[in-house]
């Protein structure tokens, strides 16, 4: 049998190195909005704006790129169309390096591999990525929705002017280009195509991308998510072309992919705000179900981070209980109708929490704020004490006990406001955080790491006030509300009052004081 020559059958890769100029990227990628479509290049424009704001100076284009997500979309859906959609994409990489040196630098980095052992070569590439690489975007051969798998750095975190930005739901991932390994920290984004995925599918896909940083969850493509969602229930018609998912189907899809869906209804502003704050601070991306009930319109977006007020402003949820979540000012969301890392202001009172997504007005649809109806948090199945349970334990038992301990030790005459928050994190991450704090004694960290048998995730209730510093109460997240297992109390402070309080609280809880 004759094997055809490479030029006859195999496409030839073309790498192009170009200067980045805002407004010209669509031409470079040969993108033309097709007739009879609205907003075809809107998301593309948002990406262009985003990388420009990050200081992009140059781009590298792979003209022939097989994308793991699109090839699946192609196999399941686009290959069965009359129009012969190609099975490959383009991929564009963004760099903060001048265009005249980009190609030379990449070649130099590859050649360094001849001189350096693999580990050192990888470190050189990582340093280059850290300094100059902004991420990539896969450009699908779908003129009406070209933006495919896109991982970009978030905006630079700021801590000034009374606000602090925190992109905690991002992760590092590796990609390969022209023989070098590039690293980027971000949360995956794509434009909805309404062929294999609409907003609900895309929001789950983005959230699971981050979960894979914590757990060995199989990487599911948008097409696979849509299909598993429709495996056991199809309340709203055929799965493909995607006609959206129900909340039930979203939960089924998350469960089928090995993760546990934690769904909460939003009936109370302060409670919902606390869940969002705790999950985002824990680095667990929530999917927000947003509604415009009067129009019977529902949308899903994924949280990439949050903006918080600083310094802390007291937010009393009950006498003596100051919820740190009150500092939540805005969320950064991936909205597949618009773009990545969009600021979404959080406001509300009473039973309602509203979310106003920045730049939504460009869609020229109703731009009234969305009402948050549900929060869907994908988490490891072993976490039984979720954010709701942690909050209940804290407000029902821990905060009153701390107040009683303060009264017993006569540390304050009045009922002071105790600031609190909850998190659920991997123990190693918690220890790392404590090591960075100089108000935690090493003997406490040693007691923690040598005497506590950790669950896979540890639930933390941190409570504090200026006059007493802070106290952490740790919980086994595999326990349940009927059988709560407290792992210990750790003083986050050095004063004698702080330690005395931690000790009395440990006694009241019948648990260990982690202070050896």
């Amino acid at each position: 049998m004759l094997i055809p020559g490479p030029d006859a059958v195999l496409p030839r890769q073309q790498l192009e190195f170009r200067a980045f100029a805002k407004g010209r990227l669509a031409d470079l990628l040969k993108l033309v909005a097709p007739p009879l479509t609205q907003h075809a290049l809107l998301q593309f424009g948002f990406i262009e704006d985003h990388v420009a704001a990050l200081g992009c100076q140059s781009i590298a284009i792979e003209r022939h790129y097989i994308d793991k997500d699109y090839i699946e979309d192609h196999a399941i859906f686009y290959s069965k169309s009359l129009y012969p959609y190609p099975n490959y994409c383009q991929r564009v990489h963004f760099f903060k390096i001048t265009p005249d040196t980009l190609e030379e630098t990449i070649t130099h980095l590859v050649h360094e591999g001849r001189k350096q052992p693999p580990q050192q070569h990888a470190e050189i590439c990582a340093r280059f990525s850290d300094k100059s690489y902004l991420g990539f975007s896969v450009i699908k051969p779908l003129a009406g929705c070209p933006v495919g798998r896109t991982v970009l750095r978030p905006p630079v975190e700021v801590n000034e002017g009374g606000v602090q930005s925190l992109y905690s739901c991002t992760r590092f991932s590796k990609t390969h280009f022209a023989g070098i390994e590039l690293t980027v920290n971000g949360l995956v984004f794509q434009q909805q195509d309404t062929g294999v995925s609409a907003c609900a599918t895309t929001a789950i896909w983005s959230a699971l991308y981050k979960i894979r940083d914590l757990e060995e969850v199989s990487a599911a493509t948008p097409a696979q998510i849509t299909l598993v969602a429709a495996r056991h229930a199809m309340p709203f018609g055929r799965p493909l072309p995607s006609e959206g998912l129900s909340t039930d189907q979203m939960c089924l899809a998350i469960h089928a992919l090995g993760v546990s869906p934690n769904l909460f209804r939003v009936d109370d502003f302060a409670t919902a705000r606390a869940y969002l704050y705790s999950a985002t601070k824990s680095g667990i991306p929530s999917v927000l179900i947003l509604g415009r009930r009067q129009q019977d319109q529902y949308h899903a977006v994924t949280i990439a981070g949050m903006e918080i007020r600083t310094p802390h402003v007291e937010a009393a949820v009950a006498p003596g209980m100051d919820d740190e979540a009150g500092d939540l000012k805005a969320l950064y969301v991936h909205d597949d109708r618009l773009g990545p890392y969009l600021s979404a202001e959080v406001s509300g009172e009473g039973r309602v929490l509203t979310v106003s997504i920045a730049k939504e007005s460009v869609l020229k649809v109703a731009s009234t704020p969305w009402t948050l109806t549900h929060i869907l948090i994908p988490m490891h199945g072993k976490i039984r004490l979720s954010f709701s349970s942690m909050r209940e334990i804290t407000v029902r038992y821990l905060l009153p006990m701390l107040h009683i301990a303060i009264q017993k030790l006569q540390l304050s005459s009045a009922k002071p406001a105790i600031t609190f928050h909850n998190r659920i994190v991997r123990p190693q991450e918690y220890i790392r955080e404590l090591l960075d704090r100089f108000d935690v004694r090493l003997q406490c960290i040693d007691a923690l790491r040598t005497t506590v048998p950790f669950s896979r995730y540890v639930g933390i209730a941190r409570m504090g006030a200026p006059f007493l510093e802070s106290v952490d109460v740790l919980f086994d997240t595999t326990s349940t509300m009927r059988n709560i297992i407290c792992l210990g109390v750790l003083p986050v402070g050095t004063s004698s009052n702080n330690w005395a309080l931690a000790e009395l609280l440990a006694k009241a809880l019948g648990t260990r004081l982690l202070a050896a």
């Binding site: 959206g244 029902r396 905060l399 009153p400 009264q407 006694k507 019948g510």
Partner: protein, 59 residues
């Protein structure tokens, strides 16, 4: 501090008097915390209606 060191990483216990003090005071706190606990329970109380929302905003 010395006391803390001595009892380090051991299960802590309270004398009966302190225990009773805590129990009594905790009862007083119930009225304060109940609305917060109710709000948490409401967020967890899901019905068929919650699972049947159709999410399909296009853009």
């Amino acid at each position: 501090m010395a006391k803390s060191d001595r009892k380090s990483a051991e299960q802590q216990t309270m004398d009966e008097e302190t225990k009773q003090f805590f129990e009594k005071e905790l009862e007083r706190w119930e009225a304060v915390t109940q609305p917060l606990v109710d709000a948490i329970h409401d967020s967890e109380r899901l019905s068929d209606k919650d699972y049947s929302i159709r999410i399909n905003t296009r853009g």
